[in-house]
Assembly symmetry: C2
Homo-oligomer: 361 residues x 2
C-alpha cells in the first residue's frame, strides 16, 4: 500500500521542524505520507477535505485556528490513518498525546516533555498504544541524544530480555562543550575561566538563549527520566532525584539572563576548585547523568572522571551513552556523537516516521 | 492481531540458535510467532499441519528431511505469513533467500554470506523485498557487530538522506582481542609474543577452531562488503578490494591448524616490527577496516593508529564502528561494544524478529 493514504500533521516549524520537512520532501513517494496539516505558534494550514498542503503557504494561511482537541478530531476523521509529528517542546501538545493515540493517531516526536512529565502521562501514553493493538504507535528517538540510536537500542535490550544494570553518560551537548573546553583531558585548555567559557558558548549559540536553561541541569534530568523509565524504573519525574544545578544559589534570584551572566564571574573560583581537585587525582570534572537500575537510583551532576575513559575523552559537544547490561558484561555498549542540532534531531524524527509508515501502511 | 498467526522456521541451533530460542521463549505472547519448523544439520522437526513444535523434541525427531526448495514450499503453504530465521553461516541457505522472499516469506539472520556474496545475490534479495510491497522483509542486524545497532543506524542515516562519507573501525572481536593484548595503548602489555597471544586466544575459545579463519581477514572483509553496499557502493564481493591477511605467505600451504600454530612463532619478528614501528611514532598497530564512500574504496588491514583515539583505546574484544557523515560533521557517530558471542548475536536476531512481527501482524 502506498504511504500517500497516510495523513500527516506537523506541529512546529522551527529549526528541527524545518529540517524535518526538508528530509520529508526527499523521501521516496512510497514512504511519504500526505501532509494535511502544518502549524507554527500563531498560524495553521489545512483544508476541510484533507488536501495536501505546503509549508511555504503557511505564512499566508487564513485557516481558522484549531485547538488541540479540534486537531484530534480533524485527524481522526481523515480518510486514512493519521500521524502527528510534534516538533515543539510544548507541554500542552505533549499532554494531548493520549487523546491523539486513543483516536488511533500515531505520534512521532523529539519533544521530551511527554516522556519526562508525570508518571500518569507516561502511563496514559503507553496504555493507549497498548490497547490500540498496533494501530496507534509512538516513537521518540530524538527525545534523548537527538538522532543517536539511544532509545531504540535501550528498547531492543529490554524487549529481548537483557538486564540493563546501569546507564551512564554525558547527555547534554552544551554541558559537554562547556566541560570539554574548561577542562580538556589532554591538557590543551587555554586556561579560560568558567564564566568566560559560558559567555563564549552563549555568543556562539551553543547554549539556550538563556544559559540558565542549560546550567540548571533539568534538560539532562528529563533525558535520564526517560531512560530510567524505559529501563523499568517508576521515576516520578525529573525533580524526584538529585540534580546538581550549576546556577550558584546566590544567583538563583537573578532577574535576567544578563544579570546572571554579569555576576557569574564571582563564582569562577568555585568551578576552578572542582577542576583543581580533579587534576590532583589525575581526573577531570564532567557533568554526568546515571541510572543505577538495580538500586533504583538516578542522579545528575558533577563527577570527577578518570582520564582515558570515554567520558573524559569526549570532544566538542558530543554526547556519550554507556549501557551496562548482563549480556554485554564488563564493557558497556557505547553510543557517541552529536546529540543536538536541527539536522541530526530531525534525522531521528524522520527515521521514526519511516518506521511508523512501514508498520501502518 | 496476535503474532501466533505468524509461522516461524528456525534453521540452526548452535550457540546463536540456542540463545535465540531461549530469548524467543521469553517474548510476550503477542510478539511470539508459532514455531513450526526447527532444524540442525542432520535433523528436522515439523508437522504437515503446522503444529507448534519444541526444539527439545528435535533430537528424537523422525521428520523426513526437506530440501531448501521443499522448505520454501512448506512455509509458503502455511495458513499465515511465515518467517525464516537462519542462524547458520551456511552459503546454501543464504543462496535460497530470494526463493523464500519471492514466496512472501520474511528472512531474519546473522548469516553474513547472503549480503557479502555476489552482487547478483544481493540484488536478487532486495529486488524480492522491493516487489513484495512490504509482505516479505529481510533484517540482518547481527551480520555486522552482532547485536550492536550498526546496520539499523547506517540504514537510518541513508534513508533519511544523510551523506555517509566514511565508515571506519574494528570489526572483529578476535582481531580486537589479539591486538589489544599484543599492543595495548596504555602500555600494560606483558610483552607476550604474537604467536603466544594467538595460542592463548585459541585455547580460550576467542578464535575460530582454526585461527586462520580469523587471521585471513575474510570475516572483516565480508562485514565491510555489507556496510559498503548499504552505503551505496556496488562492491562485487569481499575479494574485490585489498584485504591484508595475517597468515604469512610461507604458511599458506600449512596442511592443518596444528602445523600453522606450530610454525607461527617463526613470524613473531615481523609482527614485533609493526609494533615497534608504531611505538616509535607514538602509535599502536590495529587491524582496521574502512569504507571511503566518496572515493569508492574499501580496505582491510593493519594500520598505525594514534594513541588516545577511540580505536587505539578499545578494550577486550570490543568492536568499534565510526560513521562519518555530512550531518555529523567532524566528529563521527560511534558505536562500540561486544561484537561477538551467542547471547549478543542472538539479541540482534530477536530484536529483528520483533520488528518483522510488528510490521507483519
Amino acid at each position: 500500500m502506498s504511504a500517500s493514504k497516510l495523513y500527516l500533521a506537523v506541529v512546529g516549524v522551527g529549526g528541527v521542524g524545518t529540517a524535518f520537512l526538508s528530509q520529508l520532501a526527499s523521501l521516496p513517494f512510497k514512504l511519504r505520507p500526505t501532509l494535511v496539516f502544518v502549524s507554527r505558534s500563531s498560524k495553521q494550514l489545512y483544508t476541510p477535505s484533507y488536501d495536501a498542503v505546503s509549508v511555504s503557504d503557511l505564512q499566508a494561511s487564513t485557516s481558522k485556528l484549531l485547538s488541540l482537541f479540534e486537531l484530534v478530531n480533524y485527524l481522526s476523521s481523515a480518510p486514512g490513518k493519521a500521524i502527528l509529528v510534534d516538533n515543539t517542546s510544548n507541554q500542552d501538545v505533549a499532554n494531548a498525546y493520549p487523546s491523539f493515540l486513543r483516536k488511533g493517531i500515531s505520534v512521532v516526536t523529539p519533544n521530551k516533555k511527554a516522556f519526562s512529565g508525570t508518571l500518569q502521562l507516561w502511563n496514559d501514553i503507553f496504555d493507549a498504544v497498548e490497547s490500540s493493538d498496533g494501530q496507534a504507535l509512538v516513537y521518540h528517538e530524538s527525545s534523548v541524544g537527538a538522532g543517536l540510536p539511544v532509545i531504540s537500542t535501550l528498547k531492543d535490550l529490554v524487549s529481548t530480555g537483557d538486564q540493563v544494570t546501569r546507564i551512564e553518560g554525558v547527555f547534554s551537548g552544551t554541558m559537554s562543550f562547556l566541560f570539554n573546553s574548561f577542562a580538556p583531558a589532554d591538557g590543551t585548555g587555554d586556561g579560560s575561566k568558567w564564566s568566560e567559557i559560558v559567555a563564549k558558548a552563549k555568543e556562539a549559540g551553543f547554549t539556550e538563549p538563556d544559559p540558565r536553561d542549560d546550567l540548571n541541569g533539568m534538560d539532562v534530568a528529563r533525558k535520564l527520566t526517560i531512560l530510567a523509565r524505559l529501563a523499568g524504573l517508576k521515576v516520578q519525574g525529573p525533580d524526584s532525584f538529585p540534580v546538581q544545578s550549576l546556577i550558584p544559589k546566590e544567583l538563583e534570584s537573578a532577574k535576567s539572563s544578563d544579570e546572571f551572566m554579569q555576576r557569574l564571574p564571582e563564582f569562577d573560583g568555585e568551578m576552578e576548585g572542582y577542576k583543581d581537585e580533579a587534576a590532583k587525582a589525575g581526573k577531570v570534572v564532567r557533568y554526568v547523568g546515571s541510572v543505577d537500575v538495580a538500586a533504583g537510583k538516578v542522579k545528575v551532576g558533577l563527577e570527577l572522571v578518570e582520564k582515558g575513559t570515554p567520558i573524559a575523552s569526549l570532544r566538542g559537544s558530543d554526547n556519550l551513552i554507556c549501557f551496562y547490561t548482563k549480556r554485554y558484561g564488563a564493557n558497556p555498549l557505547v553510543i557517541q556523537g552529536a546529540g543536538a542540532g536541527g539536522e541530526v534531531t530531525a534525522m531521528g524524527v524522520t527515521a521514526d516516521l519511516i518506521k511508523v509508515v512501514e508498520r501502518l501502511r
